[in-house]
């Protein structure tokens, strides 16, 4: 690249969206997906685009690619790439830009790779197409790129099919594919949303490296403010099709001006803070549908500062904030709001005094047999192997206590939930609920009262309710089944009480699940779980599928009811920030075993188990004052059917001390009466650990 070329590039933005309006043609008429959108990205710059689902952020990316489908179109405005308007280009011109000048990485890596084509072939066609490279040269280039995205054994990787790779590997392949022709601009659309946190950390590291190494400009689309902080220089916040605030990371994160941005930050938990210091503040109301946006400011119905006659009149335009270069905000009253005085009432997390032991799990094992039915196995006498989904779990939970179970895919937390619910029987060990062993009592053999004491809240709001029946009848069914209510009138009354409990209007009883939002469905799921005389609730990632502004209120509701009913809550989650807010004690699981357990305080401060340490380091934190130690795990998660010998974590452990980790199962070290770590590390090493997350000075409101 010549120097004059570089100088030319530095003068003009790589990408510039000017007054962009995008719309979709639907049966109900034209829907404006993105309204009055401006964005510019300079060479080598990384810009974040953040917002909740349905705010139009992905539509922007597809519009840049000029791939809006047959019913999408650019209504007005321009998208200029290196000074040329992409909207005015024909297909042939676009083909020369796509994949060569602008490349994209997608949210679902598995679906984005062609299932019947080898990785190599999918990679080499890019440089062959765009640069006319020969097969050999293109092959070499592809291998180099695979190496640069830190995939081990690239030559082998070229010969694989997508389904033979893990999610993290697939996403690395897609990043390599995007970088093959050295694009000037890389669009990343939620590239880590489908991945586990520790895998995410690796990908984020890689993405940050790209911008530095190749001078590629990035547009990073995410709903996660923490990830934007870690990867970007500037940020644009979107709400309901509009950009509402734009500025440098520092400006927006430390001195946000738009009430929505403020609301977004207040509703996300930070792992450094606990619930009493920093109560969560949810945003009230719901995101408007594109067809029914309010007049004036789209956020005004949900805004505490909205003023009649000011906010609900005309379209509000972006306003530059005096004295802050590049910081603009779409708010009519941004100058009038006194943030220092604004102390919204946060969600109260009542402190419960814990009672006696309700749930005791003692050395519980759940093995799944995998039968090898091949001819060879039959001849050799058939060695059956086992998947050790749960390998000797021991813990207890008290009345009115929240115990969090933390771990990533394959750690065995879902199996634990299934065994507790009686959908599977434990292979070995005891599970006592209120003194009664239920480890080998399948749900069919439990009586209704027993079943009612142990219930579950599911993860996916779209699957948790049966789409064929009204919400009310589904709650009523539970009430009848557990013998809580008899007769039509009583059942109906109790059902209405349950709706009151989860703060939904009684009129919702006749609605079908599809007429409810995700958060409302989760509330019904919670009502259903608490319908019986519940002693223990298992909450399996109850809010992970919800938007951040909704997460806070659903979480608060859950812990509020739990407090009132003095229920034991087993909170299964991968989100350590949320765990810190919600739970009293934490179990960290890896490959079917508990590697560390302790009170929330003890888990979040040293000494750590090396895996906990890596998990903590991987959590993206949306706070500029926080400094973290970066630990990126290497290697892939071993298969539970063939776990490593010795310590299960030894294949990826950054603190591995030697042979002993591979041969001996780690001893359980009691750090304190409530805190234990399963690790070979010497006590003094453990004690000498430093905290992963270091909080800066408390932020003062801007």
């Amino acid at each position: 690249m010549s120097t004059s070329d570089q100088r030319l590039r530095s003068q003009q933005p790589v990408l510039e969206c000017k007054d962009l309006c995008l719309s979709y043609d639907t049966r109900g008429g034209e829907v404006e997906a993105v309204v009055d959108f401006n964005l510019s990205i300079m060479p080598g710059e990384a810009v974040g685009l953040v917002g909740e689902s349905g705010c139009g952020k992905s539509t922007v990316a597809l519009a840049i690619m000029q791939y809006l489908g047959r019913n999408g179109s650019v209504v007005s405005g321009e998208i200029n790439f290196m000074g040329r308007n992409l909207c005015a280009m024909n297909e042939a011109e676009l083909r020369r830009i796509r994949g060569k000048e602008i490349a994209m990485v997608y949210q679902e890596p598995m679906a984005s790779l062609n299932p019947s084509m080898k990785i190599g072939k999918q990679l080499i066609e890019v440089p062959m197409r765009h640069e006319g490279l020969s097969f050999d040269k293109a092959y070499k280039r592809a291998v180099t790129l695979l190496d640069e995205v830190n995939l081990s054994d690239p030559d082998m990787m070229m010969k694989r099919f997508p389904h033979q790779l893990s999610g993290g590997q697939q996403q690395r392949v897609l990043i390599a594919m995007a970088l093959l022709s050295r694009p000037k601009l890389l669009l990343l659309d939620e590239p880590t949303t489908a991945l586990d946190v520790t895998v995410e950390a690796g990908i984020v590291d890689l993405i940050r490296g790209i911008a530095k190494k190749y001078g590629t400009s990035l547009l990073y689309i995410s709903h996660n403010l923490g990830l934007i902080l870690e990867t970007c220089d500037r940020i644009t916040v979107m709400y309901s099709g509009q950009a509402v605030e734009r500025g440098s990371i520092k400006q927006v994160f430390d001195q946000m001006r738009h009430p929505y941005t403020r609301g977004l930050f207040s509703s996300i938990p930070l792992p450094g803070a606990d619930r009493h210091e920093h109560p969560l503040v949810p945003i009230r109301g719901q995101l408007p549908l594109p067809q029914s946006r309010p007049k004036g400011c789209y956020f005004s119905p949900r805004c505490d500062f909205a003023k009649k006659g000011v906010c609900d009149q005309e379209q509000i335009s972006m306003q530059a904030i005096a004295g802050r270069q590049g910081h603009v905000v779409r708010c009519a009253r941004y100058n009038e709001i006194d943030w220092a005085k604004y102390k919204p009432e946060g969600l109260k997390h009542p402190v419960s005094q814990r009672g006696g032991e309700v749930l005791v799990v003692d050395n519980m094992k759940k093995y799944y047999e995998i039968k090898d039915r091949s001819l060879r196995a039959l001849l050799r006498g058939g060695k059956t192997r086992y998947i050790k989904a749960n390998d000797g779990l021991s813990f207890s939970a008290h009345e009115a206590e929240t115990v969090a179970i933390v771990g990533e895919t394959g750690c065995g937390k879902s199996t634990l939930a299934k065994v507790l619910m009686g959908l599977e029987c434990a292979t070995e060990g005891r599970i006592e609920v209120k003194g009664k062993n239920i480890a080998d009592l399948p749900v069919q053999q439990r009586n209704p009262q027993m079943i009612g004491t142990l219930q579950i809240v599911f993860q996916n709001p779209f699957e948790t309710l049966n789409p064929s029946y009204s919400v009310g009848s589904q709650v009523e069914r539970v009430l009848k089944k557990f013998g809580i209510a008899r007769g039509r009138a009583e059942t109906r009354r109790k059902m209405h009480e349950m709706l009151d409990l989860v703060k939904l209007p009684r009129a919702f009883a006749t609605r079908k699940p599809r007429q409810l939002s995700g958060g409302q469905k989760q509330r019904i799921g919670i009502a259903r779980a608490f319908a019986g005389d519940t002693a223990v609730i298992v909450a399996d990632e109850p809010v992970s599928a919800l938007d951040v502004s909704v997460q806070a209120s659903v979480t608060a509701l859950l812990s509020d009811i739990q407090h009132k009913k003095r229920t034991t809550l087993l909170f299964i989650s991968h989100d350590l920030s949320l765990v810190r807010y919600l739970s009293d004690r934490v179990l960290v699981m890896y490959l079917g075993r508990i590697v560390e357990k302790g009170t929330t305080e003890e888990i979040f401060s040293p000494p750590y188990h090396p895996y906990t340490e890596a998990l903590l380091s991987a959590v993206p934190i949306a706070d500029t004052s926080v400094t973290k130690k970066r630990i990126v795990l290497k290697g892939e998660l071993p298969s539970p059917s063939n776990p490593p010998s010795g310590c299960p974590f030894q294949t990826r452990c950054p603190r591995k001390i030697g042979k002993i980790c591979e041969t001996e199962p780690p001893p359980i070290k009691e750090i304190s009466a409530s805190h234990s770590v399963a690790c070979h590390l010497e006590d003094d090493v453990l004690r000498a650990m430093e905290p992963v997350i270091e909080m800066g000075k408390a932020k003062t409101a801007a």
Binding site: Y67, G99, S112, S116, R129, H130, H163, M177
Partner: protein, 310 residues
């Protein structure tokens, strides 16, 4: 992969065995009726008993089944009661005729429906698609005996340019194949086309096709290299499976046009009660069906790397 191959082979063989046993049960569990069929309706009960004794029918049922199966596998299929001729050469002759008909129909349908189905799936919602889809739904709605009637009315009785029967009275003539082949292609074409279209349209909206387009690939290359293979997995397997249904169409068409083939033979044998022809013909039909299922299964695994490498 070899494991999968042998496992499918084993399961197919098992299915074949079960079906052959069922057939034997239907045909030969009533010994007296067998004797009645062989000796004629007016034979005396004593004659029938004597015949049964002479022909080894006193053996246990299971043993008889295995003897029968063995004889079938070795090619000893008995003598036709209707024509008094050994079944095997007669049947093979008819089978050859049907193979000509079926082969032509299958390959023509395959070419037409794959080409048109892919085109209409790629250009979903456009004019090409609407024309092809409309034509396809129309042709699937006209069963063989109806389209045979309509075509015969036009080309045989009205225009008089095609022969109305295909019995090859004056030796083999291509022109006599035109109507039977057309009728079968028309009916099967619609189903295959609709399926290919659906599969192609689905693949065209998949995320990996989007990836390929946004890599800057030419549209033709996206369709041919990325979409086609994935889109053809489902139609291919179903088409091979449909060989089974093609056979029933073949029976109708052969009866309608008097075509001397396997289907007509089977039909005649069933109506006449020509036991040994019927036994052999059903066994052959089942063998074809089972083999097509096997090919379809293995083909699916071969086309789909997710199964091939797992």
């Amino acid at each position: 992969m070899t494991k999968l191959f042998f496992r499918r082979l084993l399961s197919i063989a098992l299915i074949g065995l079960v079906i052959s046993f069922l057939l034997f049960l239907i045909f030969e569990s009533d010994k007296l009726e067998v004797a009645g069929k062989v000796l004629g309706a007016y034979s005396l009960p004593e004659q029938r008993l004597l015949w049964l004794e002479q022909n080894g029918y006193d053996e246990p049922f299971l043993l008889r089944y295995f003897q029968w199966l063995g004889k079938f596998l070795l090619g000893d299929w008995g003598v036709s009661l209707q024509y008094d001729t050994p079944v095997r050469p007669y049947l093979m002759d008819q089978l050859k005729n049907t193979a000509i008909l079926g082969g032509l129909v299958f390959s023509l349908t395959l070419v037409f429906s794959l080409v048109l189905g892919v085109l209409s799936g790629v250009f979903e919602g456009r004019m090409t698609d609407r024309l092809v889809s409309g034509f396809a739904v129309l042709t699937t709605s006209v069963p063989e005996f109806a389209s045979a009637t309509l075509l015969a009315a036009v080309f045989v009785f009205w225009l008089g340019i095609l022969p109305g029967t295909s019995s090859f009275q004056d030796g083999f003539r291509w022109i006599e194949l035109v109507l039977p082949v057309t009728v079968l292609v028309i009916y099967n074409f619609g189903y295959y086309t609709r399926m290919t279209r659906a599969s192609m349209a689905e693949v065209m909206t998949s995320q990996y096709v989007r990836t390929a387009i946004l890599k800057g690939m030419r549209f033709r290359r996206v369709v041919l290299n990325h979409a086609l293979r994935n889109a053809l997995i489902a139609p291919f397997t179903v088409m091979v499976l449909q060989l089974n249904y093609l056979l029933s169409g073949v029976i109708v068409v052969e009866v309608f046009f008097g075509y001397k083939g396997f289907g007509k033979m089977l039909y005649d044998a069933a109506l006449f009660g020509d036991l040994y022809v019927l036994e052999a013909a059903t066994m052959i039909a089942v063998a074809i069906a089972v083999m097509s299922q096997f090919i379809s299964d293995v083909g699916y695994a071969l086309l789909n790397p997710r199964i091939r490498f797992s």
